[in-house]
Subunit: 437 residues, 2 copies
């Protein structure tokens, strides 16, 4: 074939418009993602987007030689609110002052693109209403799963379907730690230190390990995919700190491994939601996700199951998500399209009372009558034992062993767990993990 143009145009060129004035874009927050976004915007030159402002504290130290000289640098976001920019990119993170910036921009009729998961998880529905009331758009494709385009897909590829369930590996830190324990059978504490040394986990990793990060993302997925207004704090989050190498040994006996799974399922008027370590089959899509990758599965009434896998974090993948949102908004603006006029969200009851089989791991001081004692409690709560597993080679003074239960609801299980953990031979509270199939 003849070669008419050797230049490889960026993807969006196929829908770009050459003769429209460029959208004026301000970037607030010039950290890792912000720099990557600015770099992409400066590399592109398709006439659709024009970076006009960068806002950051102490911006003098942040200046980059590749940023065009006519870009205005400022440390005051009010400069941007009072400017003629069309779109504000919010990459400050956290609630303060990001919320003020986003509200201010929307009230000034400027569209907003943000990667701020906490802000959207807490205030997403209100901010979407505010955007609609001010005839502008709010997009947050980068707030969940970084570069994995699951939110855009919910917006444009799966919107013809009616989704009833979303599940995902949404936290790369947890997945790094759990898949490291899986492959190296090192203690939890060692895997955490390793993740911290490699920069995959922060010094205080509580928000990741205890599920706060993942449940904020799950709330956003429920908003975008299930049209459900749910507060992240209404979603139960279980920590992965209680999981240790021995649990991977026992899980393997069951053909399973352990991952932090976030899942939400809409059934009648209840949103079932849970975040925490769960047994998943080794051969399942979840079981195969290694390192700090993210995976999201959606289940639709018509389209069935769909999976999205990719880098969940990192400056560049997240920046792609931000720029993709920017292009979406800019194309709409350039064509006179602005906000959707109405939101139809439901406000379901939120419950963690899934019905699943369970993995219970106890650490006991070995003595006669343990099984009998546990079986009596389980039987009294009408819970059926599926299997009892005891691997050889452990100290009798601190013996880990496992009971699996046939499917039952969480609310049925909890009182039994409470009683079991109080038995005199139980050295620690009983660990309970749902077994997902």
């Amino acid at each position: 074939m003849s070669q008419t143009s050797p230049q490889h145009a960026p993807n969006a060129a196929i829908v770009s418009t050459e003769h429209t004035p460029a959208c004026r874009v301000a970037l607030v927050g010039f950290g890792t993602v912000g720099r990557a976004v600015a770099k992409i915007l400066c590399d592109r030159a398709d006439g659709l987007l024009r970076l006009t402002h960068i806002c950051n504290r102490n911006f003098e130290r942040k200046k980059q030689p590749w940023v065009p000289a006519d870009v205005v640098w400022t440390d005051d976001f009010h400069t941007i609110l009072n400017s003629d920019v069309d779109i504000v990119i919010e990459l400050i993170g956290g609630l303060t002052p990001a919320e003020d910036l986003v509200r201010g921009a929307l009230q000034a009729g400027k569209s907003v693109v943000t990667a701020n998961k906490q802000l959207i998880a807490r205030h997403g529905p209100d901010l979407l209403s505010l955007a609609a009331a001010n005839d502008c758009r709010l997009e947050f494709g980068a707030s969940v799963a970084g570069g994995v385009p699951v939110l855009p897909a919910l917006r444009t590829g799966l919107n013809g379907d009616r989704l009833h369930a979303i599940a995902g590996i949404l936290n790369g830190t947890c997945n790094y730690i759990l898949s490291r324990i899986e492959t190296a059978r090192i203690p939890f504490s060692e895997a955490l230190e390793e993740a911290q040394a490699l920069g995959y986990a922060e010094a205080d990793a509580s928000e990741d390990l205890d599920g706060g990060d993942a449940r904020a993302k799950l709330a956003i997925l429920a908003l975008a995919g299930l049209q459900a207004r749910v507060s992240p704090t209404d979603i139960r989050a279980r920590s992965i700190r209680t999981v240790d190498a021995v649990d991977f040994d026992y899980a393997a006996e069951l053909g399973c491994t352990i991952r932090q799974i976030s899942r939400a399922e809409l059934k009648d008027s209840t949103l079932y939601a849970d975040v925490g370590p769960s047994l998943v089959p080794e051969a399942s899509p979840f079981g195969r996700v290694q390192r700090n990758l993210n995976l999201v599965l959606t289940s639709g009434e018509y389209g069935g199951d769909m999976a999205f896998l990719g880098a969940g974090a990192g400056g560049d993948p997240t920046a792609v998500a931000v720029v993709s949102d920017l292009l979406f908004v800019a194309e709409g603006l350039s064509a006179g399209r602005r906000a959707p006029r109405s939101l139809r969200l439901t406000s379901p009851n939120v419950s963690c009372d899934f019905e699943t089989p369970w993995y219970l791991r106890l650490v006991v001081k070995d003595q006669p009558g343990i099984i009998a004692g546990l079986a009596t409690i389980l039987s009294a709560h009408r819970l059926n034992i599926d299997a009892v597993l005891q691997k050889p080679g452990f100290e009798k003074s601190a013996l880990p062993f496992v009971i699996t239960l046939e499917p039952c609801r969480d609310t049925q299980l909890q009182p039994a767990l409470h009683e079991m953990s109080a038995l005199p031979f139980a050295l620690r509270p009983c660990l309970s993990l749902p077994i997902l199939r």
Copy 2:
């Protein structure tokens, strides 16, 4: 939380508009996908889309009780071209008369949504130009990988990136057959008969088995993701008919399995593209795709690798893709947004000359000097042998054995293959499969 509305709204409700007149939609082609699309449109009642016409031959026999009485049935698509519909859904398939319908609709200023892979692969660039010239849109998200929203993601989730490579398992029939041979070690012919009996393969499955279907899809992915104008017939397609159970035995020795892989890579001004059976690591995303699922991997300059997995065919998943496109177009129309104004496509040279390691399988009549004969030819062509594999237990009169080569270009390999296949002890042409990592 209080429950304000138990109704689970369809996904798109979040961007639907209550106060805009509905887009008038005509459906041409009332087969499996067409019925599924009509069902979704009749189930929805969000005021954004209104099905007004259905066109099919012998429509009297096709009528369904759940189609509203005011929908016009016709067997003449000119009725639709002359009507006031805003969007035409083309689900006839094939080139004739689908091409006339689509051109007619676009020329009449009606946007078109199609699942027609042959039409888009052959005429996509022209039809996109025609749409732009007539200020309307052409969307074809259902033409590749059915319900897997890879084309929408290229449009809105990955468009901030600059993709340089796309690879996929794009043909469910081939994947069903190859993964069946893999798990059951049955002969190719038996796996094909089974697929035909189950409805996964047509009576004449040449288009699937020989790669015609997959290369049409690859051409569409290259258009949408790499902005490359490429004719499907310029892409080399290798048949899977030459692969047999013994190749899975040998592949397993190399930690691999065999899949039909379609891949395109843009490098300088050349599009490297190939469709056909390939060795992939058993533990890779490709190696794990079973049954008739589809998987698409994209590689971007900024976002790195992304994977999309899901049902590649079937009425309902494909219908979801069609309705998602419809919503995209309708939202644009209702907001006054119509066509993108320009297309920037490149017309690269197309080459199958990838550099990879190779798997060569020969079937020979055993006699002294075979390895020496082959090694002499390979050496003369400066090809380096990586390994020679010969599994025990085969008849000496028809002995399959395998040579793997270190990376070399396809053009280097072909003359050697030709000479090897002509050796007197070679019972069949040498099978050569690229080994992908």
